[in-house]
Symmetry: C2
Subunit: 190 residues, 2 copies
DNA sequence: TGAATTTCTTGAAGTAGTTCAAGTTTTTAA
DNA sequence: TTAAAAACTTGAACTACTTCAAGAAATTCA
């Protein structure tokens, strides 16, 4: 169902029926199995992913060999490596499905031609990216000002349903502390 | 001089002469004195700032009363609180000049009407924001994977001239460690 | 269903940083 | 051109977290 994306777009802009047809003709839904990768470190990222259903994540493997999740993407979020995408350089990241997911994968070539045919879409992506950037600014603020325990409680208070969906060790690394410390926070042993 | 902004825009898109005129007629250069604020915590941010000359920063005051710099904006960067800007909510941040600076302050109302008259500008802001988002993704990666000392050296290697321009304590907080620890790193006492 | 795999827990020992306080150096501005 | 303010340095004591290792619980899938 492309409806999820069309609904999301129409929260920000209005499309002509002909534009909707054009857009729909370019979209393709893909199914990504849990743990499957859509991007690995070293590959150039030419695709933007819109999550229709499920959950994706961006992560790296650090020098100790441990995975660290930098970003989650759930329903109605776009996820990609923007630096690799724009500069045609090898990515530093992995993009992987955390749950069985349905995504709309928009190839750069396809997207570029869509943006030319439907200039109004530029506006949609401009607004959505600026909002994501704002969210990222807040994230840095939280990382800088809160203790590990505060970050856990804050996240848990704001996204209680999401906390149930992902393994604790992934969330721990996203909040920038160890899986073991997460266990202790949850057990009240800190 | 608006030339700095026009040059920057024309790196990404091409404007008609009439569009350039229109754009120029809406721009105004302002001078911000070192340490002057253009936004304080609690105010709604309705303006985007393009740095023509000088250096601006976004910071917060943490629970200990210490300033923590979250972002710098130098020549050819846009700086604003995107969340406050888009959602009309009070900002969590301060925006301040680090050096005497010249900025183009683009009011939301003015920008909105410009974007309608020059739809191509949407493309410019879309690309610029996506690239900034990419830079932010890398920043999180560095914060997550490098030690304080590594972050300092990495920044110093990549932006040696910038390191000279700002007080060390601001850079220390931007790299997420204390001013005292920065001193010790520089003295080789770690 | 049950064996394999993945995820979570626990405690003990270690460490990369912070905090504090005081002194020194550099910059600013009258 | 000097007094005040801002920025930087230093060492000692502390602490919020990590690391390691091993076992327990939960989940997956053949």
């Amino acid at each position: 169902m492309y409806k999820a994306l069309l609904d999301h777009i129409e929260k920000f802009i209005t499309l002509e029926p002909s534009e909707i047809d054009k857009l729909e003709s370019c979209l393709e839904l893909s199914t990504i199995k849990k743990k499957e990768h859509v991007l690995k470190e070293g590959q150039v990222c030419n695709i933007m992913y819109f999550v229709v259903k499920g959950c994706m994540r961006q992560y790296i493997i650090n020098h100790k060999g441990t995975e660290q999740t930098l970003q989650f993407g759930i329903e109605n979020w776009w996820i990609t490596d923007y630096l690799s995408y724009h500069n045609h350089i090898p990515s530093s990241f992995y993009l992987q499905a955390v749950e069985n997911s349905e995504v709309i994968a928009l190839d750069k070539t396809v997207l570029e031609s869509l943006l030319i045919e439907i200039p109004n879409l530029e506006r949609y992506f401009r607004i959505v990216t600026q909002k994501s950037f704002g969210a990222m600014q807040m994230r840095i603020k939280f990382l800088f000002t809160m203790s590990a325990e505060e970050r856990y409680h804050h996240f848990n208070d704001n996204f209680p349903e999401f906390v149930q969906r992902v393994p604790q060790y992934m969330l721990a690394s996203y909040l920038d502390f160890s899986a073991e410390f997460m266990s202790k926070i949850r057990a009240g042993k800190v």
